[in-house]
């Protein structure tokens, strides 16, 4: 499996990343990265900490200027058509990137208004999303009082309210309990089934295996493998393939001073 994506040329591409480079001083965070995300796919970008996943997503969503390379969304260059790109993409904010002094419902209505929707439409979609995410009872509670799982849900709702064609989620399941994770997964699967594209970054292979149709393994700023789960795993366990491609697995260390049992 090469670093280039192997997918059917007939399948339209939602996101195309070509030769993306990002340097911070002398450090190269993303190094000549190529990636094509098919439309309607559930695409997982996995890699160890510091692989360049977040940096890549930030460049794809117009939040970090690349040092070189191109990012295209449905055939249009993101950086040359930022306004159009923002209209079709939904980016899931982090928990500290939402106005937590608003109630959940107010937040969704506000984001709808910011996206240029009329108030009535924003309210309707906000109510639909609150119900779908199981947050209807918490609609009048300010977001600051939400649990972590509830905050994640409202963040996802914020990303979806304007009906984007593609969703970008950066480690959405971090610190989320299993029940909330399952609920979020179901909502995302429903979205993909409806024709949407999801790009999700994670360092948890089990999660990617459960949810994604495609995966790209990134390490040290480059794509080590990309394609469908079957193509990337190449007959092995995906986790083993991950370790093989990423490396860095060490022999178990033994400390003579670290004894769990009774001291002699």
């Amino acid at each position: 499996m090469t670093a280039d994506t192997a997918y059917s040329s007939a399948q339209p591409v939602a996101l195309s990343v070509d030769g993306l480079l990002k340097t911070f001083g002398r450090k190269t965070a993303v190094d000549n990265l190529h990636l094509d995300v098919p439309e309607g796919s559930f695409y997982g970008i996995v890699g160890p900490n510091g692989a360049g996943k977040t940096t890549t997503l930030q460049m794809c969503t117009g939040m970090l200027l690349p040092s070189a390379g191109h990012v295209s969304l449905f055939g249009q260059d993101v950086w040359e058509n930022l306004d159009e790109a923002r209209a079709v993409m939904g980016v899931m904010p982090q928990a500290d990137e939402i106005f937590d002094r608003l109630t959940g419902r107010q937040l969704l209505i506000y984001v709808g208004l910011l996206h240029g929707m009329k108030r009535e439409e924003s309210r309707r979609r906000a109510d639909d999303l609150m119900a779908a995410f199981g947050l209807a009872d918490a609609g009048k509670k300010i977001v600051a009082d939400y649990s972590t799982g509830m905050k994640k849900k409202i963040c996802l709702a914020v990303a979806m309210i304007h009906s984007p064609r593609i969703l970008f989620l950066d480690e959405p399941f971090e610190a989320v309990d299993p029940v909330s994770s399952a609920n979020l997964r179901d909502i995302l699967k429903e979205y993909v089934a409806g024709g949407g594209t999801v790009v999700i970054s994670s360092h948890v292979m089990a999660l990617v295996e459960k949810m994604c149709s495609h995966v790209a393994i990134i390490a040290e700023g480059t794509v080590r493998a990309a394609g469908t789960l079957e193509e990337v795993s190449a007959g092995e366990e995906l986790e083993d393939r991950f370790f093989e491609l990423v490396g860095g697995r060490q022999e178990t260390a033994h400390f003579d001073w670290l004894q769990g049992g009774e001291q002699e």
Binding site: T61, M63, L64, L65, L82, D83, R86, A87, G90, V91, P93, Q94, D96, E97, I98, F99, D100, R101, L102, T103, Q106, I109, Y110, V111, L113, L114, H115, G116, K118, R119, K140, K141, I142, A144, D145, V158, H162
Partner: protein
């Protein structure tokens, strides 16, 4: 015993290095932190050099009399005591959350006794601690030396040895004074972790502190009125002079007998025979020991309580906590019935931003406090008016309030913080953003101005010249319109950290310096904006024979037109700058968020 002292010093050194490592990590986060740290070091150096130099020159004017010695010692004792009280109160208002505290060290695995010793001693090893020590030593030494050389008498004998003894005593006294100050501050900090858990207590403490600051700033007026003078300020020039006179009088002498005052002025008193009696020394030493031990006990008790109680509360306390939370939730729900997003005028982006700001003012303490300050001005001017018998002073509160409200919108993007990213994700243009914010702020300021104007009108004697009042109203409106636009331009270029909504009284690192520079920049630019009105006024005076009313009317008319121009031009410029610098602003806001967590 030696090993205990060595161990205590080693612990102190460890904590000092930990504090230093934290400082370095914060300094590395942004150049503002580095500048702030450098300035704080310069400040410490300046404190030492300035104190010593001032004392040297001040001492030359002192007579070699017993009263001069006593009043000098009294002033020193008063200022030192007030300084310790002020810093302790500031620690209290930090709610026990400042930097490295006992709770943090305990979680790192440090023993409780070690924590106590380490925090107290490490406090003395900081640049400010060393600065205070050196400054106090210098001041005591110079004053004591001056009196000893001048009188040739006192406890110290001949002049050469006398000078040496003065300085030795100054070093020892200063060490003891700084040690007691450190114990006091740390004990109060530990107490804050116990006492300041409840929000109501924090609010009360903050309110009391603010009232105290206002009272101190108005001390000259209060005492002048108490004296019954027709013009109180003629007798007492300022609050500083008032405090100075306290030190030179009986209050200062009384303060010398309490532990914080006695050791901060001992070498000065000892330079004259008869001023340091056996009784005085006994009281000073005993008082010091008793207070020292009590403060250590208080520290230990507070730390014990905080560590063992922690989040686990007793049944009754838990129940009370739950009841309070439920009440708060109910209050939240009640507030939500006034939902700005349900108002009919909210139809799109522009009005949506206004609705969000309305919600912020209702629920975010940081915004709400900015509305309080104009009314504090009204109170201060009313108070001054009553004290001085000149209620017309209240008219000044109207433009003062407007000016304060202009500054409210300064740094507004930092108030939004990282959630501002939602505006970017949604593709909101900078000009739309700033027009919405500026329209909201001008509207709010006008509403506040109306309320304050009504208050001023209603108070008897406040408005005698209605033409003047009308002029002040127009001026205030001009201030608001052009000041708000100026704030939006500066906000798009220059941001500094703001406290989080959850902890509105905890200032993040690096804020103090930036908060000094930003308003200065604002004032300079604001003054420049008045050039058209100023030129017009000058022309009207120089070339036309007009009445003062006509001149001022022309000035206000011209400046008013320019103010509208500034509003639209400034908002457009702010929007353009916001769009150009958008990604950099996001990076800055993320940095601020990390500072708040540091």
């Amino acid at each position: 015993m030696n090993s205990k002292i060595t161990s205590a010093l080693a612990d102190a050194w460890t904590v000092t290095r930990l504090k230093w490592a934290m400082n370095v990590s914060v300094i590395n986060k942004s150049p503002w932190q580095a500048i702030s740290f450098l300035l704080s070091c310069l400040w410490s150096v300046g404190l030492v050099v300035g104190s010593v130099a001032f004392t040297w020159f001040y001492a030359q004017s002192l007579e070699m009399t017993e009263s001069a010695v006593k009043s000098s010692a009294g002033v020193l004792g008063l200022f030192w005591t007030v300084g310790v009280v002020f810093i302790s109160v500031a620690q209290l208002l930090a709610f026990g959350n400042s930097g490295i505290n006992a709770r943090t060290l305990y979680r790192f695995g440090m023993k409780r006794r070690s924590i106590r010793n380490a925090l107290i001693l490490s406090n003395m090893m900081t640049p400010s601690g060393i600065g205070c020590f050196l400054a106090l030593t210098g001041v005591m030494g110079i004053l004591g030396m001056h009196f000893v050389l001048g009188t040739g008498t006192g406890l110290f004998g001949s002049s050469v040895l006398a000078v040496a003894r003065v300085w030795v005593l100054a070093v020892v006294s200063s060490l003891l004074a700084v040690l007691l100050a450190s114990v006091t501050v740390q004990a109060v900090l530990a107490l804050a972790m116990v006492v300041m858990r409840k929000k109501a207590v924090r609010n009360i403490a903050t309110a009391v502190f603010l009232i105290a600051v206002i009272v101190v700033s108005q001390l000259s007026s209060i005492l002048g009125a108490a004296d019954g003078a027709s013009d109180p300020t003629s007798a007492r020039a300022s609050s500083f002079d008032v405090i100075l006179s306290f030190g030179q009088g009986e209050v200062g002498q009384w303060l010398l007998w309490q532990p914080w005052g006695s050791f901060s002025s001992l070498p000065v008193l000892a330079s004259m025979p008869g001023l340091v009696s056996g009784l005085f020394m006994a009281v000073a030493v005993l008082g010091y020991l008793v207070v020292f031990i009590l403060l250590l006990k208080l520290f230990a008790w507070s730390m014990q309580y905080d560590i063992t109680a922690g989040p686990t509360l007793s049944d009754s306390a838990e129940k009370a906590e739950k009841t309070q939370k439920d009440a708060q939730k109910k209050q939240n729900a009640m507030r939500l019935t006034l939902d700005p997003f349900e108002l009919n005028f909210v139809t799109g982006r522009f009005t949506g931003i206004i609705a969000r700001l309305m919600a912020a003012f209702a629920r975010d303490m940081r915004y709400a406090l900015t509305l309080l300050i104009p009314f504090v001005f009204v109170g201060i001017f009313a108070f001054q008016g009553v004290m001085l018998g000149r209620m017309q002073m209240m008219v000044v509160s109207i433009p003062s309030a407007s000016w304060m409200l202009c500054l409210t919108s300064l740094n507004m993007l930092a108030y939004d913080g990282t959630p501002f990213i939602l505006h970017t994700y949604a593709g909101v243009k900078g000009r739309v953003d700033w027009y919405a914010r500026n329209v909201f702020f001008v509207s709010l300021a006008v509403a506040v101005q109306i309320i304050i104007s009504v208050i001023v009108l209603v108070i008897p004697g406040a408005v005698e010249d209605y033409l003047l009042f009308a002029g002040v109203e127009v001026l205030s409106l001009i201030l608001v319109i052009q000041g708000t636009a100026l704030s939006s331009v500066i906000s798009s270029v220059f941001l500094y950290p703001e406290p989080s909504a959850d902890n509105p009284f905890k200032a993040p690192q690096g804020r103090t310096l930036a908060k000094l520079i930003s308003p200065v920049l604002w004032f300079v630019c604001f003054a420049l904006l008045f050039i058209p009105g100023g030129v017009t006024f000058w022309v009207s005076i120089a070339f036309f024979d007009l009445t003062p009313v006509a001149q001022v009317s022309i000035l206000l008319g011209v400046q008013g037109v320019f103010a509208l121009g500034y509003f639209f031009g400034g908002t457009e410029l702010a929007g353009w700058l916001l769009d150009k610098r958008r990604l950099k602003i996001h990076t800055t806001l993320r940095g601020f968020a990390e500072l708040s967590r540091a």
